[in-house]
């Protein structure tokens, strides 16, 4: 529970650990840490400002926590292992940020897409092998009962895997469709979205460029989808209502990006954000105290019955 709430405030964590002049709070880390992260161009591991560095680092961590959380509860779901693609994607980007390798070939989108494909095939193979073994054992029972064997690979399963694999590309989607300091790539069809969003020179819906907008929007959408997925699959979990807090916070961030076309704060703890937090917490507490949690053995039996019904 504490982890959940702590993680939900990660995108705002930079507020807590920086001084007003941008340096780290002394209570947290000794002076000199920020300076030690400066590279030869006086940047923080390639980022223009320390708080921007923290913002993206913590969002990646936020995504990784959500993907692990969803993975841990989706025990009976066919797409469970696909979620590891999201975990791997977020973990890899954390590595790139901390090792200052963002400007190297390691951050090349085609390299990451090939790895996504490779890891995806391996994970799908593991899923198929696991299901095949499990169903082989049940074959005798099914033959006796006269029911037809279930298909392991159905259109629904393939679609869910493809959808989650697509979501795992969100943290670098901006790299796929745009080039740094150049703009949209030639192969991308012109749909007029960029023109519609461009309001002036260095003003694309409040951001300095279309690429920055895409990065910020897609990392937030990735987090939103994964936290919402965790919330949906956290059946019979006591903490389920509290997942509304991070889901609400991510939705707030997306709303700020999409609905406010001028320049705006992305993580300022203002009145609207506090409202989201307070309502999320009140909802969580209300549902928590109404939740007459079932004993563990009953939870497991109900979960397995529900899963069996879904598979039919």
């Amino acid at each position: 529970m504490a982890i959940l709430v702590g993680m939900s405030s990660l995108p705002f964590f930079n507020e807590l650990i920086t001084e007003e002049n941008g340096s780290l709070s002394k209570w947290l880390l000794p002076p000199g840490i920020q300076e030690s992260l400066l590279d030869e161009n006086s940047k923080i591991l390639g980022y223009s400002k320390f708080r921007v560095f923290l913002y993206y680092l913590l969002i990646e961590l936020y995504i990784m926590v959500a993907s692990i959380g969803w993975f841990s509860v989706a025990k009976d779901e066919a797409y469970r292992y696909a979620l590891l693609l999201c975990t791997a994607s977020a973990g890899y980007h954390i590595f790139l940020i901390l090792s200052a390798k963002r400007l190297t070939w390691l951050n090349d989108p085609s390299w990451k897409l090939w790895w996504t494909l490779g890891i995806g095939i391996v994970l799908f193979g593991l899923y198929y092998w696991g299901e095949h073994t499990k169903r082989k054992k049940l074959l005798a029972v099914r033959t006796t009962l006269g029911s037809s064997p279930e298909k392991i690979i159905s259109p629904k399963v393939v679609l869910s895997w493809l959808a989650i694999a697509f979501v795992s590309t969100f943290p670098y989607f901006h790299d796929i469709v745009t080039e740094r300091f150049v703009g949209v790539k030639d192969w991308v069809p012109i749909l007029g979205i960029e023109d519609f969003l461009t309001l002036g020179e260095r003003d694309v819906w409040g951001f300095v460029s279309y690429r920055v907008l895409l990065l910020t929007l897609f990392v937030q959408m990735c987090a939103q989808i994964l936290w919402a997925g965790w919330w949906m699959d956290a059946k019979y979990s006591l903490y389920k209502p509290f997942l509304l807090v991070p889901v609400g916070l991510s939705m707030y961030q997306i709303t700020m990006i999409v609905m406010v076309k001028t320049d705006a704060y992305l993580n300022k703890p203002d009145f609207k954000l506090l409202l989201v937090l307070v309502f999320g917490i009140i909802l969580g507490i209300l549902y928590y105290f109404k939740n007459k949690a079932l004993p563990l053995n009953e939870q497991e039996s109900i979960t397995s019955v529900v899963a069996q019904n879904n598979n039919r």
């Binding site: 921007v52 460029s209 705006a264 928590y288």
Partner: protein
């Protein structure tokens, strides 16, 4: 059970208080602006 419930309540009060810590009286609007990331603040090189 009561301890567990008190613990949950404490955790949420902590979560809220940390998020509103910048709203204390001696922090002005200008200082809040300095602490937060703005859309226009993110450079192309940060992507």
């Amino acid at each position: 059970m009561i301890i567990k419930r008190l613990l949950f309540a404490a955790v949420f009060i902590l979560a809220v208080s940390t998020n509103i810590s910048c709203e204390k009286e001696d922090v002005t609007e200008t200082e809040l602006e300095v602490l937060s990331v703005k859309k226009s603040e993110i450079e192309e090189g940060d992507t």
